[in-house]
């Protein structure tokens, strides 16, 4: 589903990705690990079409993520490393995500409930006024409601309490077939149950890639 070929991305003198080649396929559930600054987020941003690579190529479902961003993003769910301080109310945010993608509003309510996040009383609240964990639950609910083939989570459980983490992994597990899931994580024990592939990065390169 995702093919990365000799990909290099530099910011000024910093080489964030150094000739990375890798393939992610259907039914892969990947734990992407590595020290801070290893290039994990950079890799994800290249897959999502945010960055222009210095050299090499990315293809998602056979398409270039910059040229075909709309087509590709229809099939991708993404939860960022830190929930951004979006000023829209939850209701407005739902308007935005439902109108730009084919998300069904009731599905967001459904997954919010599964995540034990009370959506109804918070509908008119600004997103940035939610607690850190609530924000993450909301973004997770949206990501699941999108029913994408490609799920990308950049440390999604950082702010979640243990119970919420369990809920999140339980939902993912029931929903994993025929998909590609990519988790950036610093705690392998946490995702051991749901991943089947572990990739380590360091200094912009992939240092190990094993199926488990």
């Amino acid at each position: 589903m995702i093919k990365i070929n000799n990909l290099t991305k530099k910011f000024g003198k910093t080489v964030s990705l150094n000739g990375v080649s890798i393939e992610f396929n259907k039914n892969d559930a990947i734990a992407l690990m590595g020290a801070n600054g290893a290039g994990k987020t950079t890799l994800i941003r290249l897959i999502l079409g945010y960055y222009h690579a210095n050299s090499g190529s990315v293809s998602v479902n056979g398409m270039n993520p910059i040229k075909n961003r709309q087509k590709i993003l229809q099939h991708v769910s993404f939860v960022p490393q830190l929930p951004p301080p979006i000023k829209l109310s939850l209701k407005e945010l739902m308007d935005y995500v439902c109108s730009s993608s084919d998300i069904v509003r009731d599905d967001i309510f459904h997954y919010a409930k599964e995540m034990e996040f009370e959506l109804h009383p918070n509908l008119n609240k600004s997103f940035f006024k939610l607690s850190g964990g609530m924000k993450q639950k909301m973004l997770i609910a949206i990501s699941l409601a999108k029913k994408s083939d490609i799920l990308i989570y950049d440390e999604p459980t950082a702010n979640l309490d243990p119970k919420a983490r369990d809920n999140f992994y339980r939902l993912l597990k029931t929903d994993e077939q025929d998909k590609l899931a990519l988790f950036v994580t610093h705690r392998i024990e946490e995702v051991k149950e749901i991943v089947n592939r572990e990739i380590y990065m360091d200094l912009g390169s992939i240092v190990s890639d094993k199926n488990v």
Binding site: R45, Y50, Q74, P84, Y96
Partner: protein
């Protein structure tokens, strides 16, 4: 298109809730109120009175402060969203960059234009309640000028917003642009260039590149030249170019310039790293 309007609508709602918008609306509404309280419509100074005088004062103040208001509030709309990683999340949905950029632009335009325009409408309504004659020609001209003024500085603001990396940088550049446009108004330009013995045509041409100068001249163009303090550039321009043509230029040129800046801003936005 559906998404473009959604983004415009959401941006509009977000702005209306923001504190800067409140201040912004109060400043321009307050200005009109102040003029009424000060009795500007009643005083007879230099031969013209009533609402025309009020509108002239309003537009003269607006030409100075509206640009900086637009610049500082808008210049952060894209660069601020980039700084705070909002852009990273919002653009992970299948929305085209054009819809996002132009939607933001449309939303911001409504936010900045409506308050300054409505303040003038309120003056007209209040004036007619008080039984003052309504200077319709001036009202329509000034509506057009405000539209063009909003457009040109919004375009510049969006351009800055997409070329710089951080919103602080964007803010700095905005101040510079504003001061620069202000400093090149009439007197400064004239005295500087006369000292250096440039010819008249060159001075006028340079003056006319600056949208702020154009607005200033257009704002007084409906008045009798004997009655207003216009300065040499304005006098020369209105003496050379016919008034209707100059008014047309004063609206079309800034709108075109703003659109051009906005368009280049879009090109940069869609070609560079997004986050």
């Amino acid at each position: 298109m559906k998404n473009l309007f959604l983004i415009a609508y959401l941006d509009l709602k977000e702005s209306i809730r923001a504190r800067w918008f409140l201040i912004y609306s109060f400043v321009f509404g307050g200005l009109i109120a102040l003029f009424f309280i000060a009795g500007i419509t009643e005083s007879q100074v230099m031969g013209f009175s009533g609402l025309s005088r009020l509108l002239l004062m309003y537009i003269q103040v607006t030409i100075i402060i509206l640009p900086i208001f637009i610049l500082i509030t808008t210049v952060r709309s894209i660069s601020g969203d980039r700084d705070s990683h909002i852009l990273e999340y919002m653009l992970s949905f299948p929305i085209s960059l054009a819809e996002y950029y132009w939607g933001k632009m449309v939303g911001r335009f409504i936010t900045v234009f409506l308050p300054v325009f409505l303040a003038m409408v309120i003056a007209i309504i209040y004036g007619s309640v008080m039984g003052v004659a309504i200077p319709w020609a001036i009202f329509f001209l000034y509506s057009g000028l405000l539209f063009a003024l909003s457009m040109v500085f919004l375009g510049i603001a969006f351009f800055i917003s997409s070329i710089v990396k951080s919103s602080e940088m964007a803010l700095g550049i905005s101040f510079f642009v504003w001061i620069f446009a202000l400093a090149f108004i009439d007197i400064a330009l004239i005295s500087f260039m006369l000292q250096n013995r440039f010819n008249e045509e060159l001075i006028i041409a340079v003056a006319l590149i600056n949208p702020m100068e154009i607005f200033r001249v257009a704002a007084i163009s409906l008045f009798d030249p004997e009655l207003t303090v216009m300065g040499p550039v304005a006098f020369y321009i209105l003496d050379t170019i016919s008034q209707p043509i100059f008014v047309l230029i004063s609206i079309v040129y800034p709108i075109g310039l703003g659109t051009l800046f906005a368009y280049f801003g879009y090109k940069v936005f869609s070609k560079k790293d997004l986050v």
